[in-house]
């Protein structure tokens, strides 16, 4: 080992190879994430309006945030949205993936149809449409009044229900999670089912004993991914409800954005940076919690 090794040998070392494979990320992280992050961490201790030089104010931003009613409101709204929207979305994705796993001539078409919403979901056109559908005289109410006579002109954009308009929208975009489930389903070894069948397990039992356990890593992946996405959701809230009414749909990121780039008045970039850092801590905790729970329910072979 002490002898000089050739370059080839060095590169062949597992540790060295590990760093070489990680090199793009290490460079990218330092260049494009760490430097800006350090800057933003510093700014979170400053009063900074972008146009004028930043002035250091210590912990003031963080203390102010603690007393900021809108911050708590935004946090509540975001948690509500993430805790309800994410599981719904993942469950939907799983159910539809199971249904579409069956091979028929139309399967390709079906998959495309169920997947497409997640392609266009972020577009301006869908935001417009979503408003139209849920407004008091819109399609949704028209259908509901047929199913439940007497229910007319329900205001979906009321204080309690507005968030649900956004939850429905996010659940509707389950396509990408569904695709990942579909891929995972295809990976499950057919022999396992055959073995289960020999053991006399019906379809239902097969699902619980074979499919679901083998899918848990994928469920986990989707859950982590979608939870983070929910916490970072921005566009829909901005375009469809703009946080209204009475901040009942004020997503955390929208609040951060408003502080950083207000419609009117000076930017409070320092305050926004502090808000964003708090969000980072919260998301880290939630993710850590998910990873901690991983060993409890995720099947590993």
């Amino acid at each position: 080992m002490e002898k000089k090794r050739s370059l080839r040998q060095r590169l062949g070392d597992e540790h060295v190879a590990g760093y070489i494979f990680s090199l793009p990320f290490i460079i990218g992280f330092l260049m494009f994430m760490l430097i800006p992050m350090v800057m933003s961490l510093y700014l979170s201790f400053c009063k900074y309006d972008i146009q004028n030089p930043a002035t250091f104010i210590g912990l003031k931003n963080y203390i102010d945030i603690f007393h900021d009613k809108s911050f708590w409101k935004a946090l509540r709204v975001t948690c509500y949205y993430a805790l309800i929207g994410t599981p719904l979305k993942v469950i939907f994705a799983l159910i539809v993936a199971l249904i579409l796993a069956r091979d028929t001539k139309l399967t390709g078409f079906y998959r495309a149809a169920y997947y497409l919403p997640s392609i266009i979901g972020g577009s301006v056109a869908v935001a417009i449409l979503w408003r139209r559908m849920f407004e008091p005289t819109g399609t949704i109410n028209a259908i509901l009044s047929v199913v439940f006579p007497g229910m007319t002109n329900f205001n979906w954009f009321g204080e309690k229900s507005a968030i649900w308009v956004l939850i429905v929208l996010t659940v509707w975009q389950f396509g990408s999670s569904m695709l990942i489930f579909l891929s995972a389903l295809k990976q499950i070894n057919r022999e396992l089912y055959e073995a289960a069948m020999v053991d006399g397990a019906n379809k239902w039992k097969q699902f619980w004993k074979v499919t679901l356990p083998l899918l848990t890593p994928t469920v986990f992946f989707n859950l982590v991914q979608q939870t983070i996405n929910s916490f970072l959701a921005f566009t829909q809230s901005k375009l469809i409800t703009d946080g209204q009414p009475k901040d009942s749909t004020l997503f955390y990121t929208l609040y951060v954005y408003r502080k950083a780039f207000p419609n009117m008045g000076k930017s409070q970039m320092g305050y926004a940076s502090a808000l964003a850092w708090i969000m980072l801590v919260i998301i880290s905790c939630v993710t850590a919690l998910l990873f901690w729970s991983r060993s409890k329910w995720v099947y590993e072979d």
């Binding site: 800006p36 079906y110 919403p117 266009i120 891929s183 890593p217 992946f221 850092w277 969000m279």
Partner: protein
């Protein structure tokens, strides 16, 4: 038995079709509305099919802004999305292999950092990144929208590909090793071909995200002829004064064509290719 099966199949198809219709209704609405005369789009929003069909929205929309047609914006978007997606795929797969298969000291920390890039609120980085890129002299160029992606900065893709590599039996690596393959050889000859489905999935996601991204375009594109389609579309729908909804929808419809086509081409290999790609091996 067969009769029962046929009935079952019919019920299945009817239900799945109905679900599919509900799922793509908004999409259909967008497409059909784009063929309605622009001033009748909203008044007849509940009606799916146009009474009068017209291509005017496409004509007016395509003209674009200030002398630049949507052809320019499409070209720009393709340029940005394809290059950045290429960079993302190559770099993410490379890094994912290292983190999934190799053992080295800082692996744990690096993995946490990869995950953390998924959790960063984009707003946190926007301005500092801008100030940094400005120092690098990148403002007004496409560099900020392309180059970073060659460094696997999106943890999502690294993590996604890691998961797929995790599904590749380790025995394949071992066998290749015995055959004298280096880690690099294993990656390029064994792993890379096997994770093509994951790469396709990633490519589609990455392409769409880059295609839809307008925030960085807003900050870094300073010339109208450099605008990608996302930014152009955003400008089309200006709330502060009248906007041409027909043209917006027409151009929105065109803007989702590439992603849709991409998906339709690859969906089979995307979902099913995995099984046949030798992972079972």
């Amino acid at each position: 038995m067969t009769k029962k099966r046929t009935i079952g199949a019919i019920v299945y198809h009817v239900l799945v079709l109905a679900g599919a219709f509900i799922m793509i209704y908004p999409l259909l609405w967008m497409i059909f509305s784009s063929f309605k005369p622009t001033n009748s789009v909203l008044p007849t929003a509940k009606q799916l099919l146009p009474t009068v069909w017209t291509l005017d929205n496409y004509r007016t929309g395509w003209k674009g802004f200030m002398g630049y047609t949507f052809a320019t914006f499409f070209k720009n978007s393709f340029f940005i999305s394809i290059l950045s997606t290429f960079g993302t795929l190559v770099s993410s797969a490379f890094v994912a292999y290292g983190l999934q298969r190799l053992h080295f000291k800082l692996k744990g920390i690096l993995f946490v950092l990869v995950l953390s890039t998924m959790m960063l609120p984009p707003q946190i980085l926007m301005i500092p990144q801008y100030m940094w890129f400005r120092r690098l002299g990148w403002v007004g160029t496409y560099y900020p929208m392309i180059l970073p992606y060659f460094f696997a900065i999106q943890g999502f893709f690294v993590y996604l590909i890691m998961n797929f590599i995790g599904g590749v039996p380790k025995e394949l690596d071992e066998a290749a090793k015995i055959d004298g393959c280096s880690y690099y050889g294993i990656f390029f000859r064994v792993i890379f071909p096997l994770i093509v489905p994951a790469l396709i999935t990633s490519a589609i996601f990455s392409f769409i995200w880059r295609w839809d991204d307008y925030l960085s375009a807003l900050l870094y594109v300073t010339k109208p002829e450099m605008r990608p389609i996302s930014l152009a579309l955003k400008l089309f729908n200006d709330p502060s004064s009248g906007s041409d909804i027909g043209a917006t929808l027409a151009m929105s419809t065109l803007s989702i064509v590439p992603a849709t086509v991409l998906f339709l081409i690859f969906q089979k290999s995307l979902v099913e290719g995995i099984a046949s790609s030798g992972i079972k091996g």
